[in-house]
Amino acid sequence: MKRSMSLVLAVLASLAMSATPATAAELNLFAWSEYVPQSVLDGFTKETGIQVNYETYASNEEMLAKLVSGAASYDLVQPSEYTIEAMRKEGLLLPLDHEKLSNLKNVGKEYWGQPHDPQLGFSVPYMQGTVGIAVNKEKVKGPVTGYADVFQEKHRGRIVVLDDALEVVTWAMATQGKGPDQVTKENVLATRPVLEKWLPLVKVYDSDSPKTALLNGDVDLGIVWSGEAAILMQEEGDKFAYVLPKEGAHMFIDSLAIPKGAKNVDAAHKFIDYVLRPEVSRKISEDFPYTNPNLEARKLLTKEELANPASYPPGNPKLETFRDIGALAADVDKLFTDVKAKSGS
């Protein structure tokens, strides 16, 4: 018995010793799930020797919660535009040193001057996207042009939506003619009847990977991130379509930013600059076909990729960004939880 014990201990010890100690150069990246390809992280590590620890979240609120608690320290986060606005108000972001970001010029001119960060002093656009309707054309006949078309009785139990209180409430508000810049307590509570009509029809709530339910055939249509829809169209092109709701669609700009309390500020800058390289940005687009804000990278994309209507929507759809809603987030969340619980089983 003694021999097998020592054998076991020896194996464990060698495993422990072969693990790289946490004192080597590191970068703690806190980003959306399904957004940063492992190949990009590996490429960065190979070039700089800095190990990237990639932790994921499925909503801006989740990221904020962890950050604000001070529980863990991160070097890079990936907030959407309205979250950057909120974080700047509270002084949660470190200013960026543009001297260290030689590739910043690759970002398209239209991304400067946005209300949440006009000078790009605190954030660098990573990917832009929309939230729209993905439809399985084989299962869904008849036109689907907006939110109202999705939430019909005939689609009961065949719908997937994002598990995001703010998104869902904003869609409801859109059908009532109110935009995301009109989030007030009254407007939020006014969406209750709409939500009570919609949520019982939903089969799956998923912000991590809504395309899965669509690919598995468990649902026929849903309201998903544009990148997810683009992958659907890449995998089974003729089967799926992507439609931007006519009542008004959310356009989000996800950016990289450095939170206060970051320990590896230099490494963070290096990573941002690395990601801004056209070849690297192009790799990101390959895996996660959102709208790439890097114009030099867009030049490297294939014709099919540029023609994907989920990635690069044609025409002039009604797109709106979200604004920071501060303490109203609690009311939004409570309403969503309440109606979701009543509609569930």
């Binding site: 979240y57 909503s59 609120e61 989740e62 904020l64 919660a65 962890k66 604000v68 608690s69 909120a86 509270e90 949660l92 139990g157 598990d163 995001d164 209180a165 939903v202 089969k203 799956v204 709530y205 998923d206 339910a213 598995n216 055939g217 468990d218 501060g326 303490a327 987030a329 609690a330 969340d333 409570k334 939880t337 309440d338 979701k340 619980a341 009543k342 509609s343 569930g344 089983s345």
Partner: protein, 294 residues
């Protein structure tokens, strides 16, 4: 020599009083229990009276709004739902698991260990992985549907995944071993002679079962029920995966307060409520047990 306070010898009779050395040796344990069991619970209690800032931080002001939230019908409904799911799971586990535990307990000693191991092995593999396996089986284009469609038993795929049934299935699957093992423990200690006696005295198998076997194995049943009901109440991963995010239970709500909803004080209030509930239940059950065996 042997009577020194620091001697390690035991004497039959009352245990020795600890003395300074005894307390010193116990210090690490006391520290651990104090720092990592008692302190977190107390701090959580304090947080339940705190306020959240606009962005989701915590400000130590005194407010009762979180506790008002706990009794809000919105959340009470979810608590009820959790209790129902946990209760159904426990009931199914009891009915399904008791015969298995009994069978193994009364089996040939040569086979007993092997059978026990067979029950344990699934328990020792990650519950996540086992739950994921069920997704593969139950989804619309999954194995069960492929089989059933091929055999022409149905014309369209059955919607098995993302339903309450799938969640119960997953929960039973996860917790069945926790019911079987304690009951087996009790069954193993059964004196066969008692059952023989009951049957000899004319009791039918059913009577022997309900009047003799069940009461004698009640400690095992109680332990099994506790070991299934309690964790089932706080589960959030299994129902998340198998329920499609639709079957929110109290575990999900608490988890959400620390993630997306960013309302730590409210999460703390919910957490404290559950904690107190469990502590009380445990105290009650263990007092009953101690009374039963004194």
């Amino acid at each position: 020599m042997r009577q020194e306070a620091t001697s390690f010898s035991a004497t039959a009779g009352p245990r020795r009083s600890p003395g300074r050395v005894g307390w010193l040796l116990l210090a690490p344990l006391v520290f651990w229990a104090g720092a990592f069991v008692l302190a977190p619970a107390l701090i959580m209690l304090v947080y339940s009276f705190a306020e959240r800032t606009a962005l989701g931080g915590v400000v130590l002001a005194f407010t009762l709004e979180n506790w008002a939230g706990v009794v809000d019908p919105v959340y009470l409904r979810i608590v009820m739902r959790s209790i129902v799911y946990a209760g159904i799971t426990t009931a199914i586990c009891l009915v399904a698991g008791y015969p298995v535990a009994y069978g193994i307990g009364r089996a040939d000693p040569r086979w007993r260990n092997l059978l026990l191991m067979a029950v344990m092995v699934p328990f020792w593999t990650s519950f996540l992985i086992r739950t994921y396996a069920w997704v593969t089986i139950l989804k619309s284009e999954g194995l069960l549907n492929s089989l059933v469609l091929q055999l022409r038993l149905v014309s369209a795929p059955l919607e098995l995944l993302y339903t309450p049934g799938a969640v119960v299935l997953g929960l039973v699957y996860t917790f069945l071993p926790f019911m079987i093992l304690p009951i087996y423990s009790s069954v193993e200690k059964l004196d066969g002679a008692l059952i023989e006696a009951a049957l000899d005295l004319g009791a039918g198998p059913l009577r022997a079962f309900s009047r003799v076997i069940v009461p004698l194995t009640s400690p095992g049943i109680a332990a099994g029920v506790l070991l299934v009901f309690v964790p089932a109440l706080g589960i959030y991963a299994v129902n998340d995966i198998l329920g499609g995010g639709r079957v929110d239970m109290i575990g999900n709500i608490i988890e959400n307060q620390f993630k997306g909803a960013r309302n730590w004080p409210f999460g703390a209030a919910l957490g404290t409520t559950l904690l107190v509930g469990f502590a009380l239940t445990y105290a009650l059950v263990s007092r009953r047990q101690r009374a039963a065996f004194s």
